[in-house]
Amino acid sequence: MNLKSRIAVSFAAVAMSTTALFAGTELTVYTAIEAEDLPRYAATFEAANPDITINWVRDSTGVITAKLLAERDNPQADVVWGLAGTSLLLMKSEGMLEPYAPAGADKLDPKFIDSDTTPSWVGMDAWVAAVCYNTVEAEKAGLTPPSSWKDLLDPQYAGHIIMPNPNSSGTGFLDVSSWLQIFGEDGGWDYMDGLHANIARYTHSGSKPCKLAAAGEIPIGISFAFRGAKSKAAGAPLEIIVPTEGVGWEMEATAIIAGTANEEAAQKLVDFTISMEAMEMYNKGYAVVAIPGVAKPVEHFPDTLLGAMINNDFEWAANNRATILGEWQKRYDGKSDPK
């Protein structure tokens, strides 16, 4: 054994012992899950998999999607856990996802799993659009509660509605794409033309309309039920209204990023994300989870919510996203005259 190889061997030995010492794998996980849920999720997973540590990279749906697409040629993430299904479909069409069939995939509602033989993504739970209605402020303004999307076109609501801008908010996009599906393309745009006249302004994030409604900044915020329930729990005088035509929804889903160096750990994480334990974990905030029949009712969630979920065509939404957003911007972003 010459000196060179001797060094190489001892180097390898050192390297091996180091790995042994720090047996744990660090997974970089990109997510858009609400910040306050992250520690709970990570703790539950790490309790089941003590050798894996999660490094969260958390931001809003739009930013995380932008980040992932920007890093297409140089991925930083190992796993995406908790990102909008539409976003994952975009990643899939860029060939960025590593197909993997996790243990227990057969238990999932077919809506919550990629239809390919080896699925590229698996769903976790769904968040559902809803209208946050501040009863105190509405009364002050003399408004009557709406019950349907069409009701919101009533002139009495002029300047009293806030909704997220679909160009920056995933929630905003799911609202827009659901209206296009409920009312048809032409009907959908007509509806939004009418709604635009009543909108006070569009926010950048999806939770903000509900938080603004909770804070009384606006009587009506088009947002999602989960946010409304939380604000209501915090003491806001909110009523969560589920429009009768049906509501758009979006799933949170999980996928492995192609080319990850930690494939084994990544697969363990994906296995975990569809486990029963995980579903119960999601159920604390989400009324709808990927395994049917598991979910228990969530406090402050309206009963009608589950039934109102439309049969959402995610593929259509993902593939028409650019066109829809362009059209939306053309119609409503230009009319920026202040009210």
């Binding site: 910040a35 306050e36 739009g62 697409l69 479909l89 900044e217 806001a236 593939n319 009319k335």
Partner: protein, 670 residues
């Protein structure tokens, strides 16, 4: 005396100086810092510029299509998508230019397409590497795909990347985007007029009256510099929003829009304008006023013939600074702008909202134009003002005038109340449990861990960034300024270096940040590793605030005896010894000024770092933005005030340190 032509340099080679070790050292030092500026400024900007010309187009010649008859049988007619489009005139040339995530359904090339029809379709890429989607699955091979009409409906074409002016064409043909230029200019111009007028009278009262509490007002006027530009926006929500404390003052107008942006802009640009105008007024020559008095000129006439001309460079300079700050700011429009779109916000929306980096780059280029223009005027005015400064003048001493002094005090008090009020409202909002339904006080809003934006970690990261920027930036800037000031010879090199040092001022922070993404987030870039780390934030901040720091350092160095280096060289001592033992200690006040400037700015800046802060390196200023974005306005105010207190604390330390140094060095000042 001699027979050579005495008025003509004889031909022959110039004496080539032999470089001393110090010369070599200093020139390489300068080269290193110049390279630093190239890598951190010129190359990223170039990357951004080329990105703005990088376009995505549907290349219809890349796809071949076939349709069967009702029985599913194909004839041998094959069309390219381009031929079909020519026949139908469905999409114009501009329609075919798109963004990176553009999609085009080929079913649109068949006018009688129905997904229920029994017609089958075939499609293929003409060449290997073409891109089309069936549903979400990418197909890049040239094999024919035979699909029933329901599946064909799900086929989408993907664009290919090319280079050209398409982005700019699309930008200028989108009224919504074009409108932003108008809005940006409007807001910037009106803010400039309002801020400069307010700041002028404030500075005038402080410089030309004998009112009381001048010191207090001076401090108050500088307070807005210590907070992120978007903080006043948050205060305005609490003041004039639908639940606002004094929303009646707006008479039904909405604060969300130009009014909000204007008020907020005035708040955060006020100290900048005040500082410049105050300096300009302070250097005005008292003898001119004596002359005016002896000529029995009325105060009104004196004001217009002496005061205003004397302060004109200050006024122009402050106007440009305010204009530039407002037109490049995106935090305020985002928080309080409602539907009012401005250029800086468009960049953010394109990049963060739509992941359309190309269009973000296009808007950046558009935003660079007014910024560079304003910068050029400012440099010109600055050079004029130096000439004015060098004249010997006598400082003006105001005389007591009870009435004028009372009016001055009243005016300053109003401005002071505005500034303190904004900050106080933020602090109050941060402490209220659930505005407006539960007004009891609590610290709930300080539980940043429960919010977006990175929690308390973001706050500590910001302090780290502030300290690192101060230390690294001060070292690099001061050393660079020393080299460029004290290196002998090497004229061209020094001129180029000076130009690089001035350039960052002309680049809006948001443009710089975006340019950094393009440049550093590129796997083939050897500096790629710093992407997503604290290092890139430090570098970005140092570069962003380079110019002002550089000018401060140069001014301090110019005041030093220029023969120190000659003496040191004659004594055969290394220049670096002189630098360490004399230059640095003597320049310590300026060095501290640069440090605090860098620290405060790194703590408050949003625009430059918003694209670069990663979750591991989340920052307090960006957290304010993100928490507001998520609707957590009170925690955003709480975080904003944390930044304020930290900066105020840093300033106090700076003050004490400066005083201490001054005291210690009093000995040699004699």
């Amino acid at each position: 005396m001699t027979d050579v032509d005495i008025d003509r340099l004889p031909d022959g080679p110039r004496i080539k100086p032999k470089l001393s070790r110090d010369d070599v050292l200093m020139r390489s030092g300068m080269a290193i810092i110049a390279v630093y500026l190239v890598v951190t400024l010129a190359l990223p900007l170039y990357a951004m510029l080329s990105k703005s010309f990088s376009t995505y187009r549907f290349d219809l010649t890349q796809y071949e299509l076939q349709a069967s008859d009702e029985n599913g049988a194909f004839n041998d007619q094959v069309f390219t998508a381009a031929q079909l489009n020519d026949k139908l005139q469905k999409f114009s040339d501009l329609d075919l230019s798109t963004a990176a995530d553009g999609r085009l359904a080929p079913s649109k090339f068949f006018p009688d397409f129905s997904f229920r029809s029994p017609v089958n379709y075939r499609i293929r890429n003409v060449s290997e590497g073409g891109r089309l989607l069936v549903g979400s699955t990418l197909k890049t091979t040239t094999d024919w795909l035979e699909l029933d009409s329901n599946t064909f409906r799900r086929v989408q074409l993907r664009p290919v990347e090319s280079t050209g002016l398409d982005n700019f064409k699309r930008y200028f043909s989108t009224p919504a985007l074009f409108n932003s230029i108008k809005n940006s200019l409007f807001i910037a111009l009106v803010s400039t007029v309002v801020t400069v007028s307010l700041a002028f009278w404030f500075a005038y009262a402080l410089n030309r009256s004998c009112m009381r509490f001048k010191g207090v007002f001076r401090l108050v006027a500088m307070a807005p510099i210590l907070v992120p530009s978007l903080l006043p926006g948050i205060a305005l929500v609490y003041l004039f929003g639908n639940q606002g404390m004094i929303k009646e003052l707006l008479f039904g107008a909405s604060i969300y829009g130009p009014i909000g942006i204007l008020i907020g802009s005035v708040f955060f640009t006020f100290p900048h304008a005040f500082l410049i105008i105050s300096t300009a007024l302070a250097i005005s020559d008292a003898r001119l006023y004596e002359a005016a008095t002896s000529l029995r000129a009325t105060p009104w006439r004196t004001f217009w013939t002496v005061t205003i001309p004397g302060a004109r460079y200050g006024l122009i300079s402050s106007a440009i600074v305010v204009f530039n700050l407002v037109i490049t700011d995106f935090g305020l429009p985002k928080v309080i702008g409602g539907q009012y779109n401005v250029l800086a916000l468009d960049i953010y929306k394109h990049v963060i909202g739509q992941q359309n980096f190309q269009m973000g780059a296009v808007v950046s280029v558009v935003l660079l134009i007014p910024a560079v223009f304003a910068f050029a005027i400012d440099r010109y005015v600055q050079s004029k003002q130096v000439a004015q400064l060098s004249a010997r003048s006598v400082a003006y001493q105001p005389k007591p005038n009870p009435k004028a002094d009372r009016i001055s005090l009243l005016y300053c008090a109003l401005v002071g109340i505005f500034i303190v009020g904004i900050l106080a409202v933020c602090q109050l909002a941060a402490l209220v449990k659930f505005w407006p339904y539960d007004m009891s006080l609590s610290l709930n809003n300080y539980q940043f861990e429960k919010m977006d934006g990175g929690g308390w970690g973001a706050y500590y990261n910001s302090i780290k960034l502030g300290l690192a920027t101060a230390v690294v930036g001060t070292s690099v800037v001061f050393f660079g300024a020393y080299l460029v000031e004290k290196t002998t010879g090497f004229r061209t090199g020094r001129a180029i270096f000076q130009m690089f040092a001035m350039l960052p001022m002309a680049v809006p922070g948001m443009v710089l940040g975006l340019a950094y993404i393009f440049f550093f987030n590129n796997p083939s870039n050897p500096f790629n590793a710093i992407y997503g780390t604290m290092a890139i934030l430090v570098i970005c901040s140092v570069t962003h605030f380079y110019t002002v720091s550089h000018l401060t350092a140069v001014t301090a160095l110019k005041q030093m005896d220029k023969e120190f280096e000659s003496v040191s060289a004659s004594l055969k001592q290394p220049t670096m010894k002189l630098f360490a033992r004399v230059t640095v200690p003597v320049s310590l006040p300026a060095i501290l000024d640069i440090s605090i400037y860098l620290f405060v700015n790194a703590m408050t800046t949003v625009s430059a770092v918003v694209f670069l802060a990663s979750p591991k390196t989340s920052l307090a200023s960006v957290a304010v933005l993100n928490m507001d974005d998520a609707g957590d306005i009170a925690p955003a105010a709480a975080m904003g005030m944390m930044i304020f207190y930290t900066n105020a604390f840093a300033r106090i330390i700076h003050l004490v340190a400066s005083k201490g140094i001054l005291k210690r060095t009093q000995a040699w000042k004699g």
